[in-house]
């Protein structure tokens, strides 16, 4: 500990004010025991402090200097100018509360939106047949009446209703007048020629959804069904674990982008105890308008 350090850092003042650590105090004591200059400085500070200690601190609080500089820290919160800080603080709290409200509300709305999206995915199987019934598309087979079992109210909507890759469908799109095609089964899946097209599906060139309805009435009951669509030898689509709706029909939703114009064969198999059995074959032709 040397003079420049002692002077620069007011060590003598801090020593008498007991603001030094025990180690620093000891070092300084050892220093001023040998140092006249520092000893005199300590004596001077001690004298001033003793004289000033006689003064009532409240008597100096009214001096010319700003009151805030003379008040203990706790009092600075109580003196009159502080209320000016209350308004910004209140505004800050209000802003934070509003932000919190919007975050919570946004989360609630997102959950609601997700719920609606999920509901919309299942919407085609419920609403489209009605629209099809009222406005049948030209060239299509007439939609079954509400009394007929083909009305798709499946408790297990076909998984094919999920959007195809690259499709334009989405939660924000309405599925209005979605066409429903009821396919007629043939024996052995015999090929169709142009003159005898049994199942012709005309879909618009613009992307869209359509439903293939398969009537199962009169057929043997199975625990579940599995279906596949082939184009030649190539399997275009396959799904298992299908269950008919309450009207005894399988309603399968497809996106038009899944198919190119051409001939396809839908094979339906029934599954009991894990064993599949052929149920019916539905050849159909896709025609894009």
């Amino acid at each position: 500990m040397d003079h420049s350090y002692i002077e620069k850092n007011n060590i003598a003042d801090h020593y008498l004010m007991r603001k030094l650590s025990a180690e620093e105090s000891e070092q300084f004591e050892l220093h001023f025991l040998d140092c006249d200059e520092c000893f005199k400085l300590v004596e001077e500070i001690q004298e001033v402090r003793e004289l000033l200690s006689e003064i009532d601190p409240t008597r100096i609080a009214g001096a010319e200097l700003p009151a805030s500089k003379y008040s203990p820290a706790i009092l600075t919160w109580l003196i009159p100018w502080r209320p000016a800080a209350v308004l910004p603080a209140a505004l800050l709290i209000l802003a934070l509360a509003t932000l919190l409200y919007f975050i919570i509300d946004n989360r609630r709305l997102r959950e609601e939106l997700n719920r609606l999206r999920a509901a919309q995915v299942s919407l085609p199987q419920e609403s489209a047949p009605e629209e099809e019934r009222t406005q049948p598309a030209p060239g299509q087979q007439p939609a079954p009446s509400p009394d007929e079992p083909t009305r798709a109210q499946s408790d297990n909507p076909p998984r094919a209703a999920s959007p195809a890759p690259g499709s334009l469908t989405g939660a924000g799109q309405s599925q209005i007048n979605m066409p429903i095609f009821t396919l007629i089964a043939v024996r052995g899946g015999e090929p169709q020629d142009n003159a005898e097209v049994i199942n012709k599906i005309e879909v618009p060139r613009s992307p869209g959804w359509f439903v293939i309805s398969l009537h199962l009435e009169g057929k043997r009951k199975y625990e579940s069904y599995r279906a596949s669509i082939k184009s030649g030898d190539k399997v275009k689509w396959r799904r298992s674990g299908l269950l008919p709706n309450s009207y005894g029909a399988l309603a399968l939703g497809f996106h038009s982008t899944l198919f190119q114009p051409g001939d396809y064969v839908l094979n339906l198999e029934g599954v009991n105890r894990g064993r599949p059995e052929p149920v019916a074959t539905y050849p159909f032709r896709i025609v894009k308008e």
């Binding site: 500070i45 001033v48 402090r49 000033l52 601190p57």
Partner: protein, 194 residues
């Protein structure tokens, strides 16, 4: 020895040698050199006025006896030795001596220091009397530094920031303020006495 020190090792070695040789002026020199310094250390730890004096004398007595007996093996470090004795005296004071003599000390304090007289009490009621008067007579800048640094114990940084002064300027102002205050107080005190 570092700059500013006024007692060198040779001084200490000579002093110890003279005391051991029975030089009475050397003993007086020891008291003169260390008494006030020891008082500062003890005052910082002990508030009772009577005890401060007694502890200071005890420290010097023990130190002198030790020097005479040749216990001080490194005379050039006499100050460090005396510092050690001072600390031991203070430790003993707080550990065992004080509780034992507490009643006596209380009685002694009452006898020696009867407290402020009527005039002093009036001064205290007036909020410091001459001390406050001297303070109010000082230039505003000096007064502010003294009040804030020593009475309100504001930090140096805070004061510098408020007064828009550097640390170096603060030290200069504080030094001049102390000198000015002591001088003013003495003048007022002298004026009162006349």
């Amino acid at each position: 020895m570092k700059a500013g020190r006024s007692i060198d090792r040779k001084d200490n070695t000579d002093l110890v040698a003279r005391i051991m040789a029975g030089d009475e002026s050397a003993q007086a020199e020891l008291y003169e050199r260390y008494e006030r310094r020891i008082l500062i250390i003890i005052k910082r730890s002990v508030s009772a006025g009577a005890d401060v004096e007694n502890l200071c004398h005890e420290t010097l007595r023990i130190s002198l006896a030790a020097i005479k007996k040749g216990v001080v093996r490194e005379p050039e470090k006499l100050s460090a030795f005396i510092h050690g004795v001072t600390k031991n005296v203070l430790r003993n004071y707080y550990r065992k001596e004080r509780p034992e003599v507490s009643d006596d000390a209380k009685a002694n304090e009452d006898r020696v220091d009867p407290g402020p007289n009527q005039e002093e009490q009036l001064e205290q009621k007036e909020g410091g009397g001459l001390g406050l008067k001297a303070l109010n007579m000082m230039p505003a800048r000096y007064r502010e530094v003294l009040e804030r640094f020593y009475i309100l114990e504001h930090s140096k940084q805070e004061i510098c920031s408020d007064m828009k002064i550097t640390s170096k300027q603060f030290n200069v102002i504080l030094h001049r303020a102390r000198k000015s205050y002591i001088k003013l107080y003495q003048e007022l005190n002298d004026g009162e006495g006349q």
